[in-house]
Amino acid sequence: MTQQAATIERRYVEAWNAAIAPSSSDVPAELHALRESAIAKFEEVGFPTARRGNEAWKYTDVAPIANAAFEDLAPAAPVRVATEALDQHIMGGSVWNRMVFVDGHWVPSLTSMPTLPPQVTVTSLAKAMALHPHLVRDLLGRYAPYDESGFTALNTAFLRDGAVLIVPHDTVVEEPIHFIYLTSSEGQSSVTQPRTLVSMGRNAKASVIESYGALTDTLSLTNAVSEYVLAEGAQLDACRLQQHSGSAYHVGSAQVRLGRDSRFTSGAFDFGGAIARHTLSVALEGEGSECTLYGLYMTNHGQHVDNQVLVDHIAPHTTSEQVYKGVLDGRSRGVFHGSITVQQAAQKTNAKQSDKNLLLSDEAEVDTKPALWIYADDVRCGHGAACGKLDDGALFYLQSRGIDEAAARRMLVHGFANEVLEHVELTPLRVHLEQLITASLRSSRRPS
């Protein structure tokens, strides 16, 4: 690490010494030991800013994030939350179960659990670590390794609060559970470290949505880590919705472990952020487990959105499907890296991957890179990547029926996105996404 880089990382270590070290007695010793070990690891590996030999970050330069002079690296709980700014993140009215976090801290007054079965545990990580450590001790940090990623190490080092969901075996949670992570910053640029932990018992079933956004348009970094573990026969639908402001940086990763015959569906939706990078890593550990991973990224102006989807087929008879789509306008850039690994034991694997992109301007750019690592011989794998402009023939067809050009373009973009949206089973989420697509198209300026 260079001298300059060391100085950057040093600021985070100092912030840790000031904010986390004094509160060591708030959590059980082994959890604080995890944080200590993680900050040491962060100091060692730092931010992945190297431009050479850094394949994982080849298309996303994190220097702007690493070099940003955030004023508050460990913000305190907010004094007051402007609830009117919260509205654009609320879905499912008074039916969905909801937990709101501002600047990394749980806000009990904005939390409601109207339709949660009594045997299900939803709690803040701060509470769980302090009062019920047995709930999280064996899970936290187990699936999200921090020895290779500076960002995961940083999140783990600053573990203070987050969301914990534990669904016991044979329990069906009918209504979604929505975790909303917002930055308010109260005028100061800041860094927050949201953490989500979901444990699904045998044959349990639930839907979870993680939303990320900002209450003000202030420079910020959200560095999120999620861990999902599904026991035998469990089913989880997990969506991630990123609608940050244009001044926000977002880095996130989700680690998913799938037990025997479990089913995981995930929707990844990126609309905001100056730089947004998300890694979704799914390990199909149990025989017969399945995952469907779909995503839509819609970018404009100078935005940069990077999705890394890593699927690891470990057990036989496992199935995975990745369907990602991007709509890129302005000078924005999209990155998609989808990798499928089929381990030697994972015979009868069925894996599919597709990433299709629509470029609405000449300056927009997309880098899409599939990677297949296949060590078993009896498998079916397919992948496809595409990148194109709006179909002139379709545009003319719509116009020839009286639809003006701008409306015709909007219809075609909605049509393009529909292949992803049709996977979204939660109606309030689908409606919300359709509104975000419409708003995103309004904000783009068409060359006349």
Partner: protein
């Protein structure tokens, strides 16, 4: 109603239309027959406003308005409808929603009532009966996965919904079996009226037995080389297009 004068046009740098003259009156059905590559589809695209087709000279006047100066959507609002020979597949865009957007845009431009989804669905289902289209197809993506015959019937359904003043039908008969051909022909005949006009482009006389034209034009080499009545179509059916050029020259 439509007056085309000395219209020449090119696509991709190639001149395809070479001085078309054609007058279509209200209530008339004009057949345009011609061999492959004679410029039939080009004429239809030029009249509908396809941006890839470049007008080199000439004019087309619809009800006193300069048709060629309008973008495609305005021509549709002025009453022009092109039935595509190869209807475009539009994945992800539902047929009913697409057609309602067009219907309402046209109605709005005329100051007529726009329909909400429920009212529109009722009308659409009723019209779908004309071409024997299943209601479930109306909820599918436009032409996506439709058979050739379904695509053609879908075009006629759209025409029935939009009730154009001038319908340009580009080979409505190609690739159709006998039953579909009859449905398509019935759809066209239902729209015939003293206020409307139809330009029916075809290779074959077959459809002209079902949709009887008032005037038959023969298009070759980008020009109308002969004009006549129904008997002209019969003559071509019997003798082919070869020699039509010479007939013209002999007449000239």
């Amino acid at each position: 109603m439509l007056e085309i004068r000395n219209l020449s046009a090119s696509v991709g740098g190639n001149r395809v239309l070479n001085g078309i003259n054609l007058t279509v009156e209200q209530g008339e059905v004009h057949a345009i027959m011609g061999p492959n590559g004679s410029g039939k589809s080009t004429l239809s695209y030029v009249l509908a406003g396809h941006p890839q087709y470049v007008v080199e000279s000439g004019e087309a006047i619809l009800d006193g308005e300069d048709l060629l100066a309008m973008p495609a959507e305005e021509r549709a609002r002025a009453g022009v409808f092109l039935q595509f020979q190869h209807p475009v597949e539009v994945p992800g865009v539902r047929l009913d929603q697409f057609l309602r957007a067009g219907y309402n845009a046209i109605h709005k431009s005329k100051g007529l009532e726009e329909l909400d989804p429920l009212q529109f669905d009722r009308l659409l289902q009723q019209k779908a009966g004309i071409v024997n289209m299943e209601p479930t197809m109306l909820k599918r993506s436009v032409n996506d996965g439709f058979s050739g015959g379904e695509k053609k019937r879908n075009e006629i359904l759209q025409m029935a919904m939009l009730e154009p003043r001038l319908s340009i039908l580009d080979e409505p008969d190609s690739g159709l079996d006998v039953d579909s051909l009859r449905l398509v022909a019935d759809g066209i005949n239902q729209l015939r009226s003293p206020e409307r006009a139809v330009i029916l482009i075809t290779h074959y006389q077959r459809i002209l037995n079902l949709v009887v034209p008032d005037v038959v034009n023969v298009l070759m080499g980008g020009r109308i080389v002969r004009t006549g009545g129904v008997e002209l179509a019969e003559e071509i059916e019997a003798e082919g297009y070869e020699g039509q050029d010479e007939v013209l020259q002999a007449q000239g």
